[in-house]
């Protein structure tokens, strides 16, 4: 797998590159800003780009903007956005236009090289990756009338994994059940929450996130 790493802080950039190197992933370029990132992606057409959300010149959302550009201009290249903020808004913004081959992970998550490699692999397979911390925060949000209370424990678990971007197959192997069972759970959850999204589409991640974020679902 060929990857470009973009982060304006050299220590982080090097750290990620060395972890990837250890895991046998080919880091074809390291860049420090969005312009360099877009140039390297155009030149080297990597399988994925790992992008820090906060980069020069304004240190706000340059990484997000660049991620969307890459997804539009190079559909074959996936993007994994890294952030130090637990901000569902950013994750949802990333998923809004291109709900596949994108991921939003907290930076400390990638300490675990297995997590990082797994995320890159899922993105390569066309899936979506949303950081579990963000999902658990959304699922755990206090509500006046909590429709999640109607879900069984297993259904809540499935809902969380759907929100993290896992496919039915991935959920099945994570929970040690058959894919058919997962399909049934997903249908049941969407029905109970009144969500009309197609249970098999990539759009279901965003729909579930948006649902979890709304006040009185």
């Amino acid at each position: 797998m060929r990857v470009v790493v973009a982060d304006d802080v050299m220590l982080t950039r090097e750290g990620i590159a060395r972890l990837l190197d250890e895991a046998g992933i080919d880091v074809v370029a390291q860049v420090e800003d969005a312009d360099g990132l877009l140039r390297e992606v155009r030149l080297k057409t990597p399988d994925a780009a790992i992008v820090d959300i906060r980069m020069p010149p304004t240190h706000t959302d340059e990484g997000l903007v660049a991620a969307q550009r890459i997804r539009t201009d190079h559909p074959a290249t996936g993007v994994l956005v890294l952030s130090q903020y637990v901000e569902p808004s950013y994750a949802m913004r990333l998923l809004e236009e291109h709900p596949e081959r994108v991921g939003y992970l907290l930076k400390q998550r990638v300490f675990d090289v297995a997590v990082l490699v797994d995320a890159l692999r899922r993105i390569g397979d066309g899936e979506t990756v949303v950081d579990p911390t963000i999902v658990s925060r959304l699922v755990g949000r206090r509500r006046r009338q909590d429709p999640l209370g109607e879900l069984t424990a297993r259904e809540r678990e499935v809902l969380g994994l759907v929100a993290e971007g896992l496919s039915n197959g991935a959920i099945a192997s994570r929970l040690f059940v058959t894919e058919r069972t997962v399909e049934a759970h997903v249908k049941q959850v969407l029905l109970k929450l009144g969500l009309t999204v197609d249970p098999d589409s990539h759009r279901r991640v965003l729909a579930v996130l948006a649902y979890l974020r709304s006040d009185s679902p």
Binding site: L19, Q84, R213
Partner: protein, 589 residues
């Protein structure tokens, strides 16, 4: 006593002058009527002639007499009176039944009518000719016409005059009959009349064009008709130079006479109108003094003045501090007085208390200063004190807002420093620990691996705490994504259900967003402390304000949330704290 007797004397003298002038005029008109068969004046010759003649002459006398009774217009009034008297000279000259001396006198003074009007036009508005060129022109006109008309009287024998019309018989002042000299002097009189008339037109035109807006208003009633007088008199002189034999039966001469009469009558009307204006302004000033004596509501001095003087552009400024920086009634720094505005100073001792910027054409500065004097001084000083207090308030508000902004900027910087510094170093440390652990695991040193795992765990815990600390110091999402996403995050993390109603889609100034955020943040803590089961937040943008409304179902509040009051107040906003609700209004424009 002496003064009033003197004033009464002047009054009596004026009365006598006006009565004799009227007698002179009415007698002239009556004499004209008894003119017999031959028509030797326009008043007798034309059907409308007498009315026009009367309107012009009596009009000038009446308006002049009235104007002469007012100190501000006395000089103009006297000039109009003199013009009216001279106007009837032509009627006397043509009055066949009148004594020869009167007819000769009439011929002598008639040419002065135009000169008096010339003088009057140059002396608008206060009766004094301001420019030295103007003074030279006026004196020159008087001398020229006087010399020519006296010369003509000395040399002209009417019996020898080929073109005589009004008076072909009498000249009481004849010293030496010389038809050639008399004719040359007559022509000279016509040429000088032409020159004066054209001068009058040019002057009136330039003065009217040069004045702007309100400045033109008081000039127009007098200079407009004066321009017409000049034009008609110039036409008359040119016609006589080309056709010396004057004949009222010819339409040209008749029309010119009617035009001249009409323009003089208009001039009289204009003068009368100016008098009405002056009287009205004086009445307004008198009322103003009363109004101000009763102390108008604070901040209303300017409006009271504008209404009283009919000058909407009036301004009142107050000098402040050692540099006499000018501020307006609301305490805001004002520019120096704009050009074209007169400045009336209202002073206490040597020190100016207020400057009134007004339209110089409406009222003179000393008049205004006098009117705003004694009676109004108290309210003017009150107003000045209020303006000073307002200025201090503005300074205080600015400084409060600055303190809050500085504190926010410092927090923001701290958050950035943490993010870019300590957090990044800890991240790098974690990566290194992971790498070392990986290679140690390969070597099979389990004890070291577990130590490295513990170290990595500690590092992650430190990172997590640091991340929360940084977010607490300053939520980066607020600056980067705006109030909506930042409030969403607050709601995600809140210990009780937080419902977000409408949120404004557009961004606002950082200080405004930050203040709204802090209000919601504190309200959530407060509601949780009072055992609320839910909290509802709405943020609207309404008429230049951010309105944050928060309701909950907790126990009634006992605290007043003073620090929130400070925070919202620093931006000039207001905070309404009730038992279980909160409403903050923050100006955002």
């Amino acid at each position: 006593m002496a003064d009033s007797r003197f004033a009464a004397g002047i009054g009596l003298a004026m009365l006598a002058v006006v009565v004799s002038a009227l007698a002179w005029a009415i007698a002239a008109l009556l004499t004209v009527e008894h003119g017999g068969g031959l028509e030797t004046s326009y008043a007798a010759a034309l059907p409308a002639g007498r009315a026009a003649d009367f309107a012009a002459g009596i009009g000038l006398l009446a308006a002049g007499g009235l104007a002469a009774t007012q100190p501000r217009t006395r000089r103009l009034g006297v000039l109009a009176l003199l013009a009216g008297l001279a106007w009837f000279g032509a009627d006397w000259e043509g009055a066949e039944d009148a004594p020869a001396l009167l007819r000769s006198l009439g011929a002598l003074v008639a040419p002065l009518t135009l000169v008096f009007v010339f003088h009057l036009a140059l002396a608008v508005p206060d009766g004094r000719v301001r420019s030295s060129a103007g003074r030279v022109a006026v004196i020159g006109a008087y001398l020229l016409v006087a010399v020519l008309t006296v010369g003509r009287a000395v040399f002209r024998d009417p019996l020898l005059d080929l073109y005589c019309w009004r008076n072909c018989t009498d000249n009481s002042f004849l010293v030496h009959a010389d038809a050639g000299t008399a004719s040359a002097l007559s022509d000279g009189l016509l040429w000088s009349a032409l020159a004066i008339a054209l001068g009058l037109v040019a002057f009136a035109w330039r003065r009217l064009l040069g004045a702007t807006g309100p400045g033109r208003r008081p000039l127009l009633p007098i200079l407009g008709p004066a321009l017409l007088v000049g034009a008609s008199e110039a036409t008359y002189a040119i016609t006589l130079l080309r056709t010396p034999l004057e004949d009222p039966d010819r339409a040209g001469f008749a029309a010119i006479f009617l035009a001249r009469s009409l323009s003089y009558a208009l001039l009289a009307l204009g003068l009368a109108w100016s008098l009405v204006r002056v009287a009205r302004t004086r009445a307004r000033l008198a009322r103003l003094a009363t109004d101000l004596g009763e102390a108008p509501r604070p901040g209303m001095l300017r409006d009271t003045l504008a209404a009283a003087l009919g000058d909407p552009g009036i301004g009142v400024l107050y000098p402040r501090g050692a540099q006499d920086e000018l501020i307006d009634a609301d305490g805001r720094t004002a520019e120096s007085p704009p050009p074209g505005r007169a400045v009336a100073r209202i002073a206490r001792g040597d020190r100016p208390v207020a400057l009134v910027l007004h339209d110089p054409a409406l009222v003179s500065e000393p008049e205004l200063a006098r009117a705003l004097g004694s009676a109004a001084r108290l309210s003017v000083e009150n107003e000045a004190l209020r303006a000073e207090a307002m200025a201090q308030l503005h300074a205080l508000q600015t400084s409060r807002a600055r303190i809050v902004e500085t504190a926010d900027a410092a927090r923001r910087q701290l958050e950035r420093d943490l993010h870019d510094g300590a957090q990044q170093r800890l991240l790098a440390l974690s990566y290194d620990l992971r790498l070392v652990r990986a290679s140690t695991a390969d070597d099979g040193d389990t004890e070291l691996v577990s130590m490295l795992d513990a170290a990595a765990g500690e590092t992650e815990a430190a990172l997590e705490e640091l991340r929360e600390l940084a977010h607490g110091i300053y939520p980066a999402i607020l600056t980067e994504a705006g109030l909506g996403p930042a409030l969403q995050t607050l709601a995600d993390e809140a210990p009780l259900p937080v419902e977000l109603g409408d949120l404004p889609p557009e961004r606002a100034a950082p200080g405004v967003e930050r203040t709204a955020y802090v209000v919601v943040d504190e309200a959530i803590d407060d509601a949780a402390g009072r055992g609320a089961a839910w909290l509802h937040v709405r943020v609207r943008r309404d008429a230049g304000r951010f309105v944050v409304t928060i309701e909950d179902d907790g126990a009634p509040r006992s605290a007043r949330l003073v620090h929130l009051l400070d925070r919202v107040g620093a931006l000039g906003g207001s905070l309404d704290v009730r038992d279980t609700s909160l409403r903050a209004e923050i100006p955002c424009e």
